[in-house]
C-alpha cells in the first residue's frame, strides 16, 4: 500500500514529511542530548589578548581547578574549540586577528567577554588604540565583569554559559 502511495514525483515530499515527523518525535530529547554534550566540552581557543590571562591561568591552578567542570581545558588547535574567552583589552591591532580566529572556528561557538576592557573598554575608555568593547566585532554570550575578574567569577560566567546552552535550540539536525 505504501508502495502505491509513493511515486517518483512525490518521493521528496514523503521523505520531507518523514523528517518532520521524526523531528517532532525525537527532536526534543535528541536536542537535549546534543546540548548536554556541548555544555561539558567547552574548550577555549588559546588566544590571550591582555592582562586578564593571568587570572585565566589562575583558574586552572589547583586551588580553583576549573577543569573539574569539564570546561576551560587548555587546548591547542582552534579547529577543535568552541569557546573564545576574550581575556581583556582588544586593541586595534588585535581586533582583525580576533575576528579571524572567530571566523575559523567551526559552529557552534560561544564567546565570553572577560574583564571590563572586553566589555566596554574599561580603564582604557579614552585610549587611542583600544576598542570600546568587543561586541562590535563578535557576538558575545556572557559578560564577566571585573578588572581582572577573580577566577571564581570566571567559573560562574562559564556556568551561566552552560545554563544558556542548555536552553538554546540545538541546530536543526534532520
Amino acid at each position: 500500500m505504501l508502495k502505491d502511495l509513493v511515486t517518483p514525483e512525490n518521493a521528496n515530499v514523503f521523505v520531507g514529511k518523514l523528517g518532520d515527523i521524526l523531528e517532532k518525535a525525537i527532536g526534543k530529547p535528541l536536542g537535549y542530548a546534543i546540548n548536554w554534550g556541548r555544555i561539558w566540552s567547552l574548550w577555549p581557543v588559546h588566544i590571550e589578548t591582555a592582562c586578564c590571562s593571568v587570572e585565566f591561568g589562575a583558574a586552572s591552578s589547583p586551588r580553583y581547578d576549573v577543569e573539574r567542570f569539564g570546561i576551560i581545558e587548555a587546548f591547542g588547535s582552534l579547529r577543535q574549540c568552541d569557546l573564545v574567552v576574550v581575556q581583556g583589552t582588544i586593541t586595534r591591532k588585535m581586533a582583525p586577528r580576533l575576528r579571524l580566529v572567530y571566523d575559523q572556528m567551526p559552529e557552534p561557538k560561544y564567546v565570553i567577554a572577560m574583564g571590563a576592557c572586553a566589555i566596554t573598554g574599561g580603564l582604557y575608555f579614552d585610549s587611542y588604540n583600544v576598542l570600546p568593547g568587543i561586541d562590535g566585532i563578535i557576538p558575545v554570550d556572557v559578560y564577566v565583569p571585573g578588572c581582572p575578574p577573580r577566577p571564581e567569577t570566571l567559573i560562574q560566567g562559564c556556568m551561566l554559559l552552560q545554563e544558556k546552552i542548555k536552553r538554546m535550540k540545538a541546530r536543526k539536525f534532520v
Partner: protein, 396 residues
C-alpha cells in the same frame, strides 16, 4: 606576511614594470627564497602569548626572527598626560598585573620627588615587603608558564598552586588579588592588618620550604637540562651590548642588581645577595629567577624584623598636587624582570607632562632575534620564555 611575498620572479623588480615609487618607511618588500619558509608564530599560539614572531626557517633551523609586538599597545603613556599624579596609579600598574607593586614603584618614587613628599619609615618597609612578595608571585607565574612551554604539566600545577599562598598574603595586606594599587606618592594606601607579621613569616617560611622542592622535580630533571642547556647562549659582552637586564643579564655573568647597586627606599639597610650564573644559556636564565625567590624570602624576613612596629604609613597629600615647575626625574627599581625605569617630566601642572616607562621586557626583546638565529625551531619556546618576557608590559 603572506600578502607581501610572492614567488613569481620580477613582480617586484623595479626595472621591468617600473615600480619606482619609494616605499614609506613602515613597509618593506621581501625577497623570497624557495628554501626558506616563513612561519607565523602567534598571536593565536600556545607558545607565543600576546605577540607575534615571524620566523624564517631552513629545514629545522631558524635563520631569522622578527618579533612583532604591539598587540596590547594601549597608549598608557598618552593617557598619563591627561590624569593627575594619583589618578595615574591604576592604569600604570596594569602592564604587569601580577607584579603590580613593582611596576608602580618607580612612578611613585619619581612623583614623590617631583611633588616633594617625604615617606614615613614604616611605609618604606611595608613597600619592601609588598614588593618582594609581588616579585615571588610574578616569578611563580612565570615558572608555571615555563612549565607549560616545556610540556611539564607538574611544573604548571605546583607553582600555580603555591602562588596562591602569597596572593592570600597580598589580599590580606591590600584587599585585592592581583591589582593592588597599594603604593601611592607619600607611602602606602593603608597599614598592615593586625597580626600580619606572624602570618607573613609563617607563610614565607612554608613557601621557602616548598620552592626548594622544585629543584628535584624541575631543575635537576634530565629532560629539562637536555632541552635548555646550551640553547640560546648569550655571552657576557652581548648581554651588555644589547642592554639586557634582570635575570637575563645576571645569567650571563654580570653582577648587577639595582637593590644592591642603587638601593632605593630601605634596601641599603637590608642584606641583599645577588645571584649570578656564568653560563648564559636558557637553563641559567630559568634558574636565576628561582634563586631570586629564595633571596626574596630572606629579604622579607629581614624587613619584618627591622620594621618599626608602629607609626604612620602615609603622608597626607593635598588634593591635586602639583610639581614645582619644569622638572624631570628618572627613577628605576629592580622588578621581577629587571631594572624598570620611569621618566617623568613635569611642567608645574597637576598632570605630568610626559611619563615614559622604560620596561625590562622591551629591553630584553632585542636579544631574542640574536638568540634564535641558528637555533632549532623546537627550542624556540624555551629560549623565548627564558627571556622573562611579558608582552603586555613591553607594549605598554
Amino acid at each position: 606576511m603572506g600578502g607581501l611575498t610572492s614567488t613569481s620572479k620580477g613582480l617586484y623588480n623595479k626595472g621591468k614594470i617600473g615600480m619606482t615609487f619609494k616605499l614609506p618607511p613602515g613597509l618593506a618588500l621581501q625577497k623570497v627564497d624557495e628554501r626558506i619558509m616563513t612561519l607565523n608564530v602567534g598571536p593565536q599560539h600556545p607558545g607565543s602569548g600576546h605577540m607575534r614572531l615571524i620566523v624564517q626557517i631552513d629545514g629545522d633551523y631558524i635563520v631569522a626572527c622578527d618579533p612583532d609586538p604591539g598587540y596590547v599597545h594601549r597608549g598608557e603613556e598618552k593617557m598619563a598626560e591627561y590624569r593627575n599624579y594619583i589618578l595615574n596609579i591604576p592604569h600604570l600598574e596594569r602592564p604587569v598585573i601580577h607584579d603590580s607593586c613593582n611596576v608602580l614603584y618607580p612612578y611613585v618614587l619619581g612623583s614623590e620627588e617631583i611633588l616633594g613628599i617625604e615617606v614615613p619609615e614604616r611605609a618604606k618597609y611595608v613597600r619592601v615587603i609588598a614588593s618582594e612578595l609581588n616579585r615571588c608571585i610574578y616569578i611563580m607565574y612565570w615558572l608555571a608558564i615555563y612549565g607549560i612551554f616545556l610540556g611539564h604539566s607538574t611544573m604548571f600545577m605546583w607553582p600555580a598552586g603555591d602562588r596562591e599562598l602569597l596572593i592570600d598574603l597580598m589580599e590580606k595586606m591590600t584587599g585585592a588579588r592581583v591589582t593592588h594599587a597599594h603604593f601611592v606618592p607619600g607611602g602606602v594606601r593603608n597599614d598592615l592588618p593586625p597580626n600580619f607579621e606572624d602570618v607573613c613569616l609563617r607563610q614565607v617560611n612554608y613557601f621557602e620550604k616548598r620552592i626548594k622542592e622544585y629543584a628535584a622535580i624541575f631543575y635537576d630533571n634530565p629532560i629539562l637540562i637536555a632541552r635548555t642547556r646550551d640553547t640560546g647562549i648569550l655571552s657576557r659582552q652581548d648581554a651588555i651590548r644589547y642592554g639586557t637586564t634582570g635575570s637575563v643579564l645576571r645569567a650571563s655573568g654580570v653582577d648587577y642588581d639595582l637593590r644592591v647597586k642603587e638601593p632605593y627606599d630601605v634596601y641599603e639597610e637590608l642584606d641583599v645577595h645577588t645571584n649570578v650564573m656564568k653560563e648564559g644559556d636558557s637553563y641559567a636564565r630559568s634558574k636565576i629567577p628561582w634563586l631570586d625567590m629564595l633571596e626574596s624570602c630572606n629579604i622579607i624576613r629581614q624587613a619584618l624584623q627591622k620594621m618599626p612596629k608602629s607609626g604612620s604609613v602615609r603622608t597626607k597629600l593635598k588634593p591635586n598636587p602639583k610639581g614645582k615647575g619644569l622638572d624631570s626625574v628618572y627613577k628605576r627599581v629592580e622588578s621581577g624582570r629587571g631594572s624598570l625605569g620611569c621618566y617623568i617630566v613635569s611642567d608645574g601642572k597637576v598632570e605630568p607632562y610626559r611619563v615614559k616607562l622604560s620596561v625590562p621586557s622591551f629591553r630584553n626583546l632585542i636579544a631574542l632575534p640574536n638568540l634564535l638565529r641558528g637555533e632549532k625551531l623546537g627550542n624556540m619556546p624555551s629560549v623565548y620564555w627564558s627571556l622573562n618576557y611579558w608582552p603586555v608590559e613591553a607594549d605598554r
